[in-house]
């Protein structure tokens, strides 16, 4: 069966979530729970690395929409990195690149957080 996995690691004040597999209406609640637990711990500097993500539907994009306002209100951000062209196209179709910080590389995203502090 296809699957979805989230793994979490810390880089200073930044939390990096690696997402892997298929992110759809069935698996999106797992990512939602993971980000909710970060918000509950007042961790607002979040990088999501998409390098191992194969598939995303709007349910996956909805997860980021659900948190971004609260996180930015707390001086944080969700930065999205390492998307393959197929995944990026879905974000692009919905106009996300103008509203979200989508970067080529995870390291670049972590550096941007440290520059802002």
């Amino acid at each position: 069966m296809e699957s979805f996995e989230v793994t979490k690691r810390h880089d200073g004040d930044v939390v990096v979530l690696n997402i892997k597999g298929y992110l759809d209406a069935h698996t999106a609640p797992r990512l939602e729970n993971e980000i909710q637990s970060l918000v509950d711990e007042s961790r607002y500097n979040i990088v999501v690395n998409f390098s191992d993500l194969i598939y995303i539907s709007s349910a996956g994009l909805g997860v980021f929409m659900g948190f971004i306002e609260n996180i930015r209100d707390n001086s944080g951000d969700i930065k999205l990195t390492n998307m393959n062209p197929k995944i990026y196209r879905v974000f692009d179709l919905l106009g996300f690149p103008t509203l979200y910080d989508i970067l080529e590389d995870e390291g670049e995203a972590i550096k941007k957080f440290s520059l802002n502090q």
Partner: protein, 153 residues
């Protein structure tokens, strides 16, 4: 020119853990009939969005009711008809949705229909509340394919 249609059908319980099977079915048929990988992934995502909407909005996550996915292939197009027997909705309201409002307001949900329209060549809703609701989505094999094939006559 032959008007013969080939039909493929999947009837499956409307629950989110079946979205994967629905995608596999649709992608396999689209690939088999000759769509390029890029179009296969567009068709797969459009159908996922349609079925996820049925599960969430028509069936309100009540999992016992089926979703019927029919794919019809003819010489110029692939048509997918997704039928549910959920609560239905006012089709006129759908056509007035503007994705910019959703994005600007960071509102969760409501993006699926916009994606379906962006990914497919035609999307049409037909809802008879309490009876059935259908969404029909079409992808042509070629842009202007009708004209090019007509010239072959």
């Amino acid at each position: 020119m032959s008007s013969k249609k080939t039909q493929y059908q999947l009837k499956i319980p409307g629950q989110t853990d079946n979205l994967e099977l629905i995608r596999l079915f649709v992608a396999a048929v689209a690939d088999k009939v000759g769509f390029a990988a890029d179009d296969v992934s567009k068709i797969e995502l459009a159908v996922d969005e349609a079925c996820a909407n049925v599960i969430k909005h028509a069936y309100l996550k009540e999992t016992k009711q089926p979703i019927d996915v029919v794919i019809e292939i003819d010489f110029k197009k692939l048509a997918i008809i997704i039928t549910d027997h959920g609560k239905g909705f006012d089709v006129k309201k759908i056509s007035k949705q503007d994705v910019k409002d959703y994005i600007a307001e960071m509102r969760v949900g409501g993006l699926g229909i916009y994606l379906m329209k962006a990914l497919m060549d035609e999307v049409e809703f037909n809802s008879q509340p309490g009876v059935k609701t259908q969404v029909k989505m079409v992808k042509y094999f070629l842009k202007n394919g009708e004209l090019k094939l007509a010239e072959e006559k």
